[in-house]
Amino acid sequence: MQQLLTTVLTGLTLGMVYAAFALALVLIWRATRIVNFAQAPMAMITTYLALVLIDAGYSYWLGFAVALLSGLVLGAVVERFVVRHVEGKSEVNAVILTLGLFIVLHALAALIFGSRFRSFPAPFGLRGFQVGDTTIALTGFGVFTIVAVAVVLVGLVLLFRGTDLGLRMRASAVNQEVSRLLGVKVGRMLTLGWALAALVGSLSGLLIAGGGLVHPSYMDGVVVYGFVAAVLGGLDSPVGAVVGGVLLGLSLSLVSGYVGSELVPLAALVILMAVLLLKPGGLFAHVRERSV
């Protein structure tokens, strides 16, 4: 019972991080029909920026803010100057482009920040709360993780549902031609979409790193889990991405707790294949059929 509770709570926290990452992938997919595999190294770079500031003696929160802001800028720059040229063209080229970026950012990080493991601080406690005599697996940082992702989700929903800007962004994602005719600056909306996505991605990078170790490939597994979570949610729906992230976090945590942590990526692969083959539109797809 104790172990099950631990597993579930760990899974919930991890799931929220995967959810944030999946959300970043979904935002970009909705805007430009590209799965941004370079999201992982982008988040890794911004987390390193935070680490450099924190190691230089500045507060955690300054590093946190700088990482999120630099994510925003990096996302905008990548869309405007690199990805813009392949948007709407061959799917294969777009994927290869993001993978090229993946390799570049990886090598740059190892070149600039070194490839050894470095520990990343956490702003809240990493010890489980005490309930009576037992320690449960929910930590202060875990609560912070859940709250941070929830805040981002609510913020995005408010932006997309409640503001004029969000409406314009949704319009550009649905039909570029018509939006352009209606006076929406589609290019600018796409850049903004990528920037927002990169910000959310950076958040997930910071949350994964907190209280753990950082090295140039520490996000490589997360891009897979984020992708699986996004596909679980249908790749199109932000809420689906979050639900998918939590479900995946729970399932992987169960695999890790009861089978072995080495097989967690394999379990993710199995879940991904099962979803793609049985329910390709995801668990909550709006459209009934979609070719994958």
Partner: protein
């Protein structure tokens, strides 16, 4: 097999003998590495360039071939001849490739990329879990079997030099390259190759023409996986080890970038890409150290260049370096 291909293959064999006999053990080792990269890249370029399927999981398929070969090469006196062991490694990977291919045939674009990416990340965990049989983090040591006496005698008779194990492996690798490339070239010019291209270019038209899309895709994946398996087996022999750290996501991504650099769908391009993967690191690491970088930093320059060139090729010359050169020569001829 046309006469032209036969002549090309024989010419390639002569070049291989000349090059391998006139280089030392270090270069022999590098050529052995280039051979397995070329085989894997050749399979990947046929899959991606001809059939339009993207695989980020070829590093994982190489791991399957490498571990299969390694399991049979635990003793100094292997029970089976080496060529047979490599064929078995290829066969096992073919079967795994068929399983992956059946699932992959229903996916395309980013979905296929994501699924094969998951494969690339998942497979290195398997030897860690089954560490009893698969050696865990340290991996499996591979013993290179004795060179058959008749072969050693024959080589001595022709070249007047003793056949070192490294040179033996390089020969084996390049023999593999020649056979695989002749097979792939024939396959892509055949009916099957045209079917693959039809599926790539227009699914609906291909289906209307009576092509079974799924079957064509699975076949392309299986052929490509077989190449990766053979390459993995050769890698295990050359490295004398099969360990999870040899088959990271980076390997899969570098293979893909090699194929893109050389030009998707071009076997010559695959060879160019394999040469870049093998020889570029040494060159740029040297340059980096001259510029005052530490050796750890300088080792990152090669991947940085692969990545940058991949991005530039996709943006500027989607036909790759080989395609760009071809265009240039055609342009020269026409003016």
């Amino acid at each position: 097999m046309t006469r032209r291909q036969l002549l090309l293959a024989l010419g390639a064999l002569v070049v291989v003998i000349l090059v391998l006999e006139n280089t030392g053990p270090f270069r022999n080792g590098q050529f052995a590495a280039m051979a397995y990269y070329a085989i894997a890249a050749g399979g990947l370029t046929v899959l991606t360039g001809l059939n339009g399927q993207l695989s980020l999981g070829h590093g994982a398929l190489m791991a399957v071939g490498a571990y299969t070969a390694a399991l049979m090469l635990q003793e100094r006196d292997a029970a089976l001849p080496l060529v047979l062991i490599l064929l078995i490694a290829t066969g096992v990977t073919l079967v795994v490739g068929a399983l992956v291919g059946v699932a992959a045939a229903r996916l395309h674009g980013p979905y296929l990329a994501g699924a094969t990416l998951a494969l690339a990340v998942a497979v290195p965990g398997i030897p860690l879990y089954f560490s009893e049989t698969l050696g865990g983090e340290q991996g499996l040591r591979v013993r290179v079997p004795e060179i058959p006496t008749w072969l050693a005698d024959a080589v001595y008779f022709v070249t007047g030099q003793d056949l070192t194990p490294t040179r033996y492996l390089a020969y084996l690798g390049w023999l593999g390259v020649i056979i695989v490339f002749v097979l792939l070239a024939n396959l892509s010019r055949s009916r099957i190759g045209r079917i693959w291209q039809a599926v790539r270019d227009d699914e609906v038209a291909a289906e209307l023409a009576g092509i079974n899309l799924g079957r064509a895709r699975v076949l392309a994946f299986v052929v490509s996986a077989g190449c990766a398996g053979l390459a993995g087996g050769l890698l295990a022999l050359s490295a004398r080890i099969a360990a999870p750290s040899g088959f990271t996501l980076t390997l899969s991504l570098l293979l893909l970038s090699a194929v893109v650099l050389g030009g998707l769908g071009s076997l010559v391009g695959a060879l160019v890409g394999a040469a870049l993967l093998t020889f570029l690191p040494q060159v740029v690491t040297g340059v980096g150290e001259d510029l005052g970088l530490t050796d750890v930093q300088a080792a990152q320059l090669a991947p940085l260049i692969y990545g940058l060139v991949t991005v530039l090729v996709v943006l500027l010359a989607p036909a790759g370096l080989a395609g760009g050169l071809r265009k240039l020569t055609q342009w020269r001829r026409s003016t």
